[in-house]
Symmetry: C2
Subunit: 254 residues, 2 copies
């Protein structure tokens, strides 16, 4: 009972029980794999209903062109000095890791590009409610990795946004301007301050930072550890000189 | 920066930095002494401006008559089998402890009685704002111990309430009925759940419970310990199998 802050003092009605923030990009395969692993861990966590998950913005490549020409394998091979076969093998291996989490990725067919507008859309979703923010995050990952659409294209973004119920006129207005751009940059500055150099990057109650897509068992163990830290059992600190009154009787300190 | 939750995520704007709850009665000398010691500790605490203090209800004697006849020394002597001199000596000793905290108490002259209505008034104060709640708590202690008025008397309670700006009509209405009675009982049930058998009883962030009027240095040390517990430095949990993407490059787990 003591650990349960919810139905207690005047103050804790405004306290959330646990906040998990996850920095990730919509074109980052480990982010999508990590998302599925985290969802598996959360599904097994006994306090799942008291956890708020917040997806935060991180562009893997803020200088990425609006849309890349050529396929993903050729781009990687050229950028990292790999043979086309090596690049394709890496992508295939990643596809198999994703398949292990139930994700039908075919990375060689993805259509990479700049994700700044996609992140601005995620912030638009959160400005409505947490559910819409989470829904558009998932919809964008699904569009990029499973439907293999170019999530840098305004018409594709508009379609994804409509699928989660965002207002088409508001979305068109956002895509034509720079709304929520500052919020994307703010997320990215925070990621740097917290020590993130890549994604996914999980932060539990600003108490534990977890880089990378760790397995579901590990993520569940960290959820429990973070919960214990933010919900300590009451520790009593007594002292012989601490005098109390009880009824009319007020003890004197010894 | 990491420990500062204030200017961070979507969630922490609703988080209070620290909550100190103090169960006490308005006719409890150690409570008033403990209040001064706590205020001294808080005045030296580097995060004082981020601390919310909430005074909670605890009746030392819920079955106390509306007003006791006779003086305090005779009452104590009769109840605890002391001689009148022994009772007076105890009261004098307590007066000198209070004087050490700058409080001009003369316990033999206090006018004890039932404090249920006084606690209901404190809840009325908090229903306005935290400052009014805190102000009426202090005003009631001052009235009882320093001005030596009977804080069970409706006219005295009305005077104290008016001195902190509560609306006289609303106060008269409260004193004529049972408004906020359930909140007093709820505070008292919580005190029992938290292990309080007497007062003052301090609870820091529902993390540390401190029975009795400990000295200011001890209370300051506990404030700092509780602050550290609720503001941990970020701990990074890495794993060799945790894969991240960084730019276009997605590492494979080792």
């Amino acid at each position: 009972m003591v650990g349960d802050r919810r139905n207690r003092s005047s103050a804790e009605v405004v306290r959330l029980d646990m906040l998990v923030e996850i920095w990730s990009d919509v074109v980052c395969p480990w982010c999508y794999i990590g998302k599925r692993r985290f969802e598996k861990a959360l599904g097994r966590f006994e306090h799942a209903s008291e956890v708020e998950v917040r997806w935060r913005s991180f562009e893997l490549d803020p200088r990425a062109p609006f849309r890349r020409s050529g396929d993903m394998a050729s781009h990687l091979a050229a950028k990292y000095g790999l043979s086309l076969e090596q690049a394709q093998r890496q992508l295939k291996h990643m596809d198999s890791m994703a398949a292990g989490e139930g994700l039908d990725m075919a990375l060689a067919d993805t259509k990479p590009g700049n994700t700044f507008a996609a992140h601005r859309l995620i912030h638009l979703g959160y400005s409505k409610d947490p559910e819409t923010g989470a829904a558009i995050k998932e919809a964008l990952l699904h569009a990029y990795f499973v439907d293999r659409v170019a999530v840098s294209e305004p018409e594709e973004l508009a379609r994804v946004a409509a699928s989660v119920g965002l207002d088409p006129a508001e979305v068109a207005d956002l895509l034509a301007g720079d709304r929520f751009g500052e919020q994307v940059r703010s997320d990215e500055r925070e990621a740097a301050e917290l020590g993130a150099t890549g994604v996914p990057f999980f932060v539990f109650d600003r108490s534990f930072a977890v880089p990378g897509a760790q397995d579901a068992d590990t993520l569940l163990a960290i959820l429990r550890r973070a919960w214990q830290r933010s919900h300590p059992t009451l520790e009593v600190i007594s002292a012989p000189t601490a005098a109390v009154c009880d009824g009319d009787a007020c003890e004197m300190p010894t």
